[in-house]
Each structure stands twice: as C-alpha cells, then as structure tokens.
Symmetry: C2
Subunit: 238 residues, 2 copies
C-alpha cells in the first residue's frame, strides 16, 4: 500500500480533525512539530557550514507560522536565518513566534521595505526555506507575492519548500508554471495531490498523526526512523 496523496479538501479535513476536541491538539503544538520537522529536513540536506545563511520566506497563514518556528530552530541549530515576510500574519500566534525569533536575534526584513531589499537578501543567502503558501492556497498569485516568487526563482538558490511549493496548485501542481522549483520538499502530515510529479528529495514531517486517524483516512504513512521528526520518501525520479 503506498502513501496517500491528499486533496486540498482532505488536507483541510485532517487538519481540522487534529485540532478538534477529538484530536485535542492545539495549533501551537502542531506548528511547533511541523516547523521543527522543516528545520530538520533542511539541516539534513544543507549543512550549516556551507549553507549557513537561510532566507526563511513566510506567508501570512499557518504555513508562515511553520516557517517562523523553523527559523527559530534553525537558529538553535547554528544556522544564520533571516526572515522575509511580504505580508505578516495577523493571528496572535504569528506575533508570538515572531517575538521568539527576535529573541534569537534573527533578523526580519520589514514588510514595508521595497522589493529591492529581497533582491539584496537573496544575494546574501545560501538556501531558501519557502513557507509562503500552504495547502489552502488557491491561485492566482497576487501582489506582493508574484514579484517575490519571481525574484526567488531567478536567484537560482536551492529551495526547500514546505508542503506545497509556492505558486503550485495544491492538486494540479505547477501546471500554471508560475511556481517555484524546489530541490527539496517537506510534506506535512501527508503529501498533497499536486506534488505527485515532484522529482527532488521529498521528506515527510509531522510525527503527530495518531494511529486511529491514520487508519480512518487510510494514509499509509511510512515508518519514521528512530527518534527523527522526518522520514525521506522514495524518489519518484526514476
């Protein structure tokens, strides 16, 4: 039985169930484990000696929160992250995660800065963590994100995308061609339909899905190794 790829609707349903009174998780818990998994996957592929400068790009939704958590853990791991948020999230949790990064002396590029600042930030980065759009994204990409995605793409830096590469449709993938082309993908909970054709290194994170829920939704998740928060999925390259 191979792993199940989720539609946008099913991903939403599982997320809601995890945080329902039956699932009993708080958003803080899930975000912490998801962001930690993203940081671990990035660190597995890009070592901190050669790729210390990570530009963590965060959207205004929950995925941006995962990005902020990842930025903090990357700082703890010894990387030098910088946070880029074209449009900061308004939820209270987003602000708290931001403060935690401030306390780690992680620089955040003010969203009021002109787009040229992103250009400069890209020139002084080694790798990008793309936490801009998640499984609730539906196109098209609008300002200020369109220009940001375009600049990120043209930087030719290696990209680690969270859940769904930004600009891809959650179910149809990069059919529009305006999405990023990451080297590494970190799917959270379970991969989404849109990434079936992804040929880079593909990790699964989010070791918080209880057996009961995995069986209910027939997720067929692979076994995580040891105490790791991520498991690498077989490449679909061949």
């Amino acid at each position: 039985m191979s792993i199940r790829y989720l539609t946008a609707k099913l991903a939403q349903q599982i997320d809601e169930e995890l945080m329902s009174s039956a699932g009993a998780y708080s958003l803080d818990q899930l975000m912490e484990l998801a962001g930690l998994a993203c940081a671990q996957a990035l660190a597995t592929v890009y070592n901190k000696d050669q790729y210390s400068r990570v530009l963590v790009c965060c959207g205004p939704g929950n995925q941006g929160g995962d990005g902020l958590v990842a930025a903090r853990h990357l700082g703890m791991f010894g990387y030098k992250p910088t946070i880029y948020m074209p449009k900061p999230g308004s939820k209270d949790i987003y602000k708290r995660l931001q403060t935690q990064c401030d306390n780690m002396e992680i620089r955040t590029i003010p969203s009021s800065d002109p787009i040229s600042v992103l250009h400069d930030a890209l020139r002084s980065s080694d790798v990008i963590l793309d936490a801009i759009f998640g499984f609730s994204f539906s196109g098209p990409v609008r300002a200020p994100f369109a220009e940001a995605l375009s600049l990120i793409s043209s930087s030719n830096l290696p990209i680690v995308s969270v859940d769904i590469p930004s600009g891809w449709d959650v179910e149809r993938g990069n059919s529009g061609g305006e999405g990023l082309n990451p080297q590494v993908l970190v799917s959270l909970t379970a991969p989404k339909e849109g990434v079936r054709s992804f040929t880079g290194r593909h990790f699964l994170g989010g070791r918080f899905v209880p057996k009961t829920l995995e069986e209910k939704f027939k997720l067929n998740l692979p076994e995580y190794p040891g105490i790791s928060g991520v498991v690498e999925l077989p490449s679909t390259r061949g």
Copy 2:
C-alpha cells in the same frame, strides 16, 4: 565556564520569563519540546527492542504534562508506554494531552485503581519515566505519592527522571533519602542545584532558551549536537 545549576526560585523565574510577553512562548510549545526531549533521552539510553514497555509516571503539575507528551512521542517511536497518574492534573492542557495519548492507544491506569495495580504495572514494565514531581516540588512526599514512590523504588527497574528525581529536594537533593534513584536524568532548561551530586547519565533538554535569556541568567549552556533536542552532560562520577 561551567553550566549553571538553578535554585528553585531561579528555575521558576526563568520559566515565567519564557512564558511572559517578552519570552512569548506558550505552555503548549514548551511542554511539547520538553516532553519530546525526555522521550529522545530515554530512547538514546534504552532501545525499544529490549525496553519497549515504558511506565510513564505523571504528577498533577506541569511535569506530569511533560510526561504525557513524552508518552505520546514514545508511542510514535514504537515503544509501548503505559501511563500511571496517581492524581491527574486539572488544567485543560493536561486533559488534551491525555486525549492525544488515548488516540495513540496508550493505556492509562485509572487513578481510582488500588495501588496494587501499580505493582502489577511495574511487573510488566522494562523502564520507568519519572515525571511525578518537578522543580516546584517541596516535601514531604504525601499520599498517594509516598506509597507509589516506595513501590517504584523497590521494583528495581531502571528509572529516567525528569528535571529532579521525584522525592528529591530541588536544592538539597536526596538528603531525606526518600527519593528515587534514577539511572538517567533529563534536566530541562538548566540543571537544578539538587542534582549536583547525581552520578548517572545526565542529559539536558529544552532547546528553546534564546541567547538573550541564556546570557541574562548566565546559564552557560553546552552546545547541543546537530539537530538533537538533547545533549549529554559530562559525568560527575569521577
């Protein structure tokens, strides 16, 4: 500069600062990372093939919450945890963490059961995770904990204690002699004064202390290796 050992008052102060508006952490976040670190430390010393049956003993305070988080992660790691709570905590987070364990099909011994049930549980366990009393404990040990500690001690099973072995004074250690004698200790944030004389394997967990706070309190924390949530401290045995 060696690591700083904390008084009970200082431990309390740091905990409060982490969760203040300046520290910006939620209890959910800290408990998740603390409990994960405890599970990781246990798994580092006791492999799941020989020590699959973990009796997770949880007190009614925040340390009991760390224990519940650890139980869930141990279940995720492939261990077979059982939870023993002589007196369940009343906070909402405690109930949610309990439900998360239920969803992992982790058995909890009802607190209404007679103490003989603990006796039976000890006979069918390989290792104990002691999350009964934390840094806010001050003796003496009262019912129903006194009898539980006595039974746990006489089981001669290996014990992994969280932060401060249960029954030890946070500053004076096991001076009263009524505390547990763990093989492994997992100090959270920073070790407490009372464990200076501890001679077993000693891990530090809680990779969430920002540089600013570490410097403010002169904690002199050691460097955590790679992406690990725990770091082993040098033995004081010699």
